[in-house]
Point group: C2
Chain length 167, copies 2
């Protein structure tokens, strides 16, 4: 039995985690054609307690997942920078995002920043601006806020979508 095109559309969420700003994007795709459902960022107040900021990210991501029901989460993997404190902040924001997915039985796929750049631009050391420009060519962005945190989240989701060979 042949599948109708609609049955091939899957919904994915991409997250670019950060303690200060976590970018996210929800995309519907059949592996070739992509439609941006929504994309924005979650910003936390640096004057608030760290635990409260992480709780805020968790709550928002969790609510978005409940609302949009993606079947997959694509998120940046462990980012080991020379700045340990920055790496830990990213790890914390990634942890609450992954936990939200795990609690809703959403499959999690992680990608290193270089993998995302390689997948989207063909060059693992591409700049954020190059990723931004390529994302604009790959998917119609309509009226979303154009910011690297958001286009990075879209790029992470597109990286996972490029693996949907079975569709």
């Amino acid at each position: 039995m042949a599948n109708s095109p609609d049955q091939n559309i899957r919904r994915i969420m991409g997250i670019d985690p950060g303690l200060a700003i976590t970018g996210y994007a929800i995309i519907d795709s059949n592996g070739r054609t992509h439609k941006l459902v929504c994309a924005d960022y979650i910003k936390t107040n640096s004057k608030e307690l760290r635990a409260d900021r992480l709780h805020y990210i968790y709550k928002n991501i969790s609510d978005l997942m409940s609302l949009y029901k993606p079947i997959e989460l694509a998120i940046e993997s462990q980012f080991v920078s020379i700045n340990v404190k920055a790496a830990i902040s990213v790890a914390e924001a990634r942890t609450v995002s992954s936990l939200a997915a795990s609690m809703q039985n959403i499959n999690i796929f992680t990608f290193a920043p270089t993998e995302v750049k390689e997948s989207v631009t063909g060059y693992g050391r591409a700049s954020k601006q190059q990723v931004f420009e390529m994302v604009q060519m790959l998917i119609e962005l309509d009226d979303i806020r154009l910011q690297y945190d958001i286009t990075d989240a879209i790029a992470i989701a597109l990286t996972r979508i490029s693996e949907w060979k079975y569709l």
Copy 2:
């Protein structure tokens, strides 16, 4: 109006976070006399997905908090070691523990490892064995498993208790 001794007893949870093993302890104290309610560790399977291991820690800590209802959580603060990967694993386990506390409105207090050693043994560079021995002198351990992950969790809780000057 004078308070009866019982009214001065507060319940605290101490956590020594780790991706592989997270030690925890629940203590009732009036600031001077301490009673160990329970103490053990949560062990995760290294063959499982990282997100599932963190979810497992979250679930167990969350259930313990619901059951024992501590009013405070004392937990190790950001631990910056020369090993970035190890620091990130601890950060992840700490994040899910703190999130569980935050979701149940439990106040979180963080302490650096040196603060805990200083508070319990009087020496910031004390060994785990020295902390272990001092903990055994400060609180009756009964039949708990004697393991550093657990005695460290007790030491972290005792560090916070030593700040209860107002009791």
